[in-house]
């Protein structure tokens, strides 16, 4: 099983998926993230999928689950770096990733998190 590293930068956690994850690794990442959000007190999570070649329904559901889960733990999640071919495929597959914030790249993801926190006070 692959273990995806979770990096901490200020009060943001950054996860960059660099390998083709099997379903068990996807579930492990969900749990690791929930634990780390609580233990670190992070207010934001960025999932970088720049290197991810496909997002199927299982991984798509992981994004929605992580977004909902971190929100309950007082942190916002942004998925960044989706490839155009992945976006086209996801829509045709029937997954719209409702409730998941997205940004084009890491920089815009960080800006989005800062903006969300700014308006939330």
């Amino acid at each position: 099983m692959e273990r995806v590293p979770i990096l901490k930068l200020g009060d943001i956690l950054i996860v960059s998926i660099q390998v083709d994850l099997d379903d068990q690794s996807v579930l492990a990442l969900q749990e690791d993230l929930a634990d780390t959000v609580v233990s670190s007190g992070a207010r934001g999570v960025i999932i970088d999928i720049t290197a991810v070649e496909i997002v199927d329904s299982f991984i798509g559901r992981m994004f929605s689950t992580i977004a909902a889960m971190t929100r309950m733990l007082d942190a916002e999640t942004v998925v960044v770096g989706m490839r155009p071919a992945v976006a086209i495929t996801l829509v045709e597959l029937g997954l719209s990733l409702g409730g998941v914030r997205t940004a084009l790249n890491l920089e815009k993801g960080v800006a989005m998190l800062q903006h969300v926190r700014g308006t939330a006070g």
Binding site: D23, E53, I54, S57, F58, R61, I88, T89, L93, L95
Partner: protein, 133 residues
């Protein structure tokens, strides 16, 4: 021209191998990046279906040559419980394994040809084909 290859689907790791093999062949035969992504995504859904619903199965991967355009054909076979009502299984949002119900219906939208043969107690065979443009 590459010979058809058969891969087992018995573990989560096998699903990853299926994705990688399909990706490699799809690129080799000249599918566009979007079409590569679609067929690999469909392969991932169907391989997971075989694993989750039937406890495993296998996939035959074949490059179709000699026609006007090359194609990539994947045949997923399992000896699981089979599908009692194929029409219902191809209905949007229908699911038995607590999933999103996108595996079959979603995969069908991602490929050019889709064929499902199944009966209770006789397993399931799903054949999908993507043609180069």
């Amino acid at each position: 021209m590459s010979a058809p290859r058969e891969l087992p689907i018995a573990t989560n790791g096998d699903v990853v191998v299926v994705r990688q093999q399909v990706r490699g062949l799809a690129a080799e035969m000249g599918l566009s990046l979007v079409d590569q992504t679609k067929i690999v995504t469909a392969a991932s859904e169907l391989a997971r279906n075989a694993l989750v619903h039937a406890g495993g199965g296998r996939v035959l991967i074949e490059v179709l040559e000699g026609g006007r355009r090359p194609g990539l054909r994947l045949v997923f076979t399992d000896e699981g419980p089979g599908i009692p009502d194929v029409e219902q299984a191809l209905t949007e949002g229908w699911s038995t394994a607590g999933g999103l119900g996108l595996g079959l219906t979603g995969s069908r939208r991602l490929v050019d040809e889709f064929d499902l043969v199944s009966a209770p107690g006789e397993g399931t065979r799903v054949t999908v084909t993507k043609w180069a443009r």
